[in-house]
Every structure is written in structure tokens, then in C-alpha cells.
Amino acid sequence: MGGFVSRGFTGRRRTPDELAARLPPGQYAESGFPVLTAGPTPEVPPDSWRLTIEGMVGAPQAWSWEEFAGLPFESVPCDIHCVTKWSKLGTSFGGVSLDVLLADAQPRGTHAMIHSYGGYTTNLALADLTDGKAWVVTEHEGEPLAREHGGPARLLVPHLYFWKSAKWVAGITVLDHEEPGFWESNGYHLRGDPWREQRYWSD
């Protein structure tokens, strides 16, 4: 490979140099916030929302919306990268770090399956969820998270492709092994690191 040039292609959507270094290979900067969901958007009223942590843990946890609102809240500036090629640079979310949520649960495993309202699942290694790399967020750019973007609460794992940042998050099950979630069973990569372009199984 390497040598191919598309005849007559110069590129219109070039990213300014100061941003180019923040774009993983194959991505382009998008100013909007596109929606990508596998099925219909579920409706989750905050007063019936629960977040649970269970599975291979020392102490299973559950938070209601009110209890969750009492946890230490952080603002998270980040870049996000969707496997369909757009990246949104310089955005921000607000929520609770997984380090806080997992601390009381005392995880004993190595991996996790994230479950969402509506049935979506996605898998992550615990190492990708801890050490300040993942949050459960309820705000986007200072506003309550819109329903089509996962409101009332979604996972945020900005260093991996955005399908890992499960919308309408309901629970985290800690596992002692890796299992594929929804997209991961459907041809997408188990880990999804945008900097290594881990889009599909074959990557």
C-alpha cells in the first residue's frame, strides 16, 4: 500500500494544524454532534432511573437519580471519536468518575459489561474504566444530556471509539473474563482504540 493517490483529490475538509494532531487516523472534525443508535431511542424518566454495579464485586452498588446527584461531580473536557469517522474536538461533559463509582463496589474482576436501557451492551476492560479515563455523565456542554444523546445518563470513555460510551446506561457488571457486547458481536473491534484505528474485527 502507501503509494495510491486519488486522481484530482486535493481535500476540502482539512483540519487546521493546531487541531490536526488531535485527530486519530481516518477521522475528520465535525462541529455538530451527530446521533448514532442501533434502534429506537428509549425513554428513561430520571425518577425511575437506577445505576447498578454488580457481578464480581465485593459490594454491589445501586444509585437512584437523587443519590447519584449527591456524588462528586466533575466537568470533563475531551475530544470524542465516532467509528463512523467524525470526531468532535474540544467538547465537554459533566458527571461522576468511574473511580468514585467503583471504589465502593470493590471490583474483583478484569473486565466489565455495560448494560443500557433498551438492551444495548458494550464491553470494556476495567483498565479502560479506571484511573480517570471514564465517567457516567448527565450533562453535555453545561446542559442536561439530551435524550437522543443518551440522557438522562450515559457512559463516557473518550479515549475509545464512541460506541463504548454507552447511552442510557443502566448498569455495570464486573466479569473475570472478556465478553463481546452488542457492536462487538456485530463485527466491531473488542477494544476500539481510535489511535490504532481498531474499527472492525479484522483491525
Partner: protein, 242 residues
């Protein structure tokens, strides 16, 4: 030149340099590109290819395009592309790419928005969202013409109608902005009543919904009202516009 040849791994993950075999104008803003592939793998209707453009200084742009053709079209795929004003890849394909030109692609990808022959099957398409549905419709016509399939297809105006000559009695068309003179069918956006009527007898199978974000949101909501279980509704959204 290092070029991938058919001798290499026949895997969808590999980029290959393919050739534009023919180009068809579908509407003033939509063209179909028939691409001849050295490494061809039969796809499932609903899957897509990735197209990658490279400038001579190494700058690259990469986008996804659904396959419009049936997998029975061996060695080739058809991609149908809408020209977006100021769109980096779609404008290049419309304004520069010609028959005989080479283009880098890889695929087929995705195994969720695919039709594996389940029946009955309901298809809801808005604008260029009809493209992956057309692969399903064409494949059914070639392999199982009796299989119950119904399509609702919404276009803005007669000049936006893609594949018009190929649509048959399985398709119900609606013009959301302007209809052709003498049109006696539906006018206006796909609404709940249309979907409930189309869904009668179809709720035991999958429904495929493809189009802009707004189209997919409202159409999939109406499908739930019409009695489809959420897990049977598969959606695909074509990017930022909505």
C-alpha cells in the same frame, strides 16, 4: 507501485484499489458508481463499504457508503452517493471521479443493519436512506420474489426520487414537499397512520429504517406504536444532517 492484488487475503479489512466500471445519474444530485473489485466478497444486503481518498501530499478522507446492489452481482458493488454541497468526499465522487478511475475501498462491513432473509420484512427509507434498503429489495427480487417485503419510501420531490423505474408494488411512495402532476398517492412526511397501515401483518419480522437522523427518530417511534418490539427495529443514520 505497491498495489493490492487478488492474491492477497480475501478479507473485508484490507484496503484495495478498485476501478470505477460505470456511473449512472439517478437524480440531479445522486449518482450510482459501479465499482469493480479485485478482492470481492459477497455481502449481506444492508452492509457498507468504506471509501478512502488520498491527496498527493498524503492527506486522506474516508467515508462509509452502503451497498445498493445485490450480492449476486459478482465481482462488483454499486454505491449510490448523494452530492452534498461542500461535502469533501461526495463532491469529489460527483465532480471528479470518472469511469476507469481507480478508487480505494474496503468492505463489506457491519453485521447489524443486515437482512439475512428473515420474513416478513418492512423497509422504511427517507431520501438517500433508500440505498441499503434497495440492496435488500433487489436481492429479494432475484432470490425470493414471493417473500413478504414492503417498503415505505419518502422523498422530497419527484426530482429526488432514486431508483424510480425499479420500484414495484412492494413500495409505497410519499412526496414530502411536492408531488408530480396528477399524483394520487401519499403527500407529506411518513406519519404514524402510514406506518401503522404498512405494519399490518409485518410486526413478526424485522423493520429496517434508514435516512437522516430526524427521519429515523420519528419513523422508529411510529414503528413501536404500530406494534414492533424495540429489538426488531434496526436503524441506520447517514451522518450529521437531520
Amino acid at each position: 507501485m505497491e498495489r493490492l492484488t487478488a492474491v492477497e487475503q480475501r478479507a473485508p479489512g484490507a484496503w484495495q484499489v478498485a476501478t470505477v466500471a460505470s456511473i449512472r445519474l439517478e437524480t440531479p444530485r445522486v449518482k450510482t458508481f459501479r465499482i469493480a473489485l479485485g478482492m470481492w466478497v459477497a455481502h449481506l444486503p444492508g452492509q457498507h463499504y468504506e471509501v478512502r481518498l488520498t491527496a498527493d501530499d498524503g492527506y486522506r478522507a474516508q467515508r462509509s457508503y452502503s451497498i445498493a446492489s445485490s450480492p449476486l452481482l459478482e465481482g462488483e458493488v454499486e454505491l449510490t452517493v448523494e452530492r452534498l454541497e461542500d461535502g469533501e468526499v461526495s463532491m469529489y465522487m460527483h465532480d471528479v471521479l470518472g469511469v476507469g478511475d481507480e478508487i480505494e475501498v474496503r468492505g463489506p462491513f457491519a453485521t447489524y443493519f443486515v437482512w439475512r432473509g428473515e420474513e416478513p420484512v418492512l423497509l422504511l427509507g427517507g431520501g438517500s436512506g433508500v440505498v441499503p434498503l434497495m440492496s435488500m429489495l433487489r436481492h429479494r427480487r432475484l432470490t425470493a420474489p414471493q417473500l413478504p417485503m414492503r417498503m415505505l419510501y419518502s422523498v422530497r420531490s419527484p426530482e429526488d426520487l432514486i431508483y424510480g423505474a425499479e420500484l414495484g408494488e412492494e413500495t409505497t411512495l410519499t412526496y414530502s414537499r411536492s408531488a408530480p402532476p396528477g399524483w394520487t398517492g401519499h403527500i407529506g412526511r411518513i406519519d404514524e397512520a402510514m406506518i401503522v397501515r404498512a405494519a399490518a401483518g409485518f410486526t413478526s419480522g424485522p423493520a429496517f429504517v434508514c435516512g437522516s437522523n430526524g427521519f429515523v427518530e420519528s419513523a422508529s417511534r411510529h414503528l413501536l406504536t404500530a406494534g414492533f418490539p424495540p429489538a426488531s427495529v434496526r436503524t441506520e443514520r447517514f451522518g450529521p444532517s437531520g
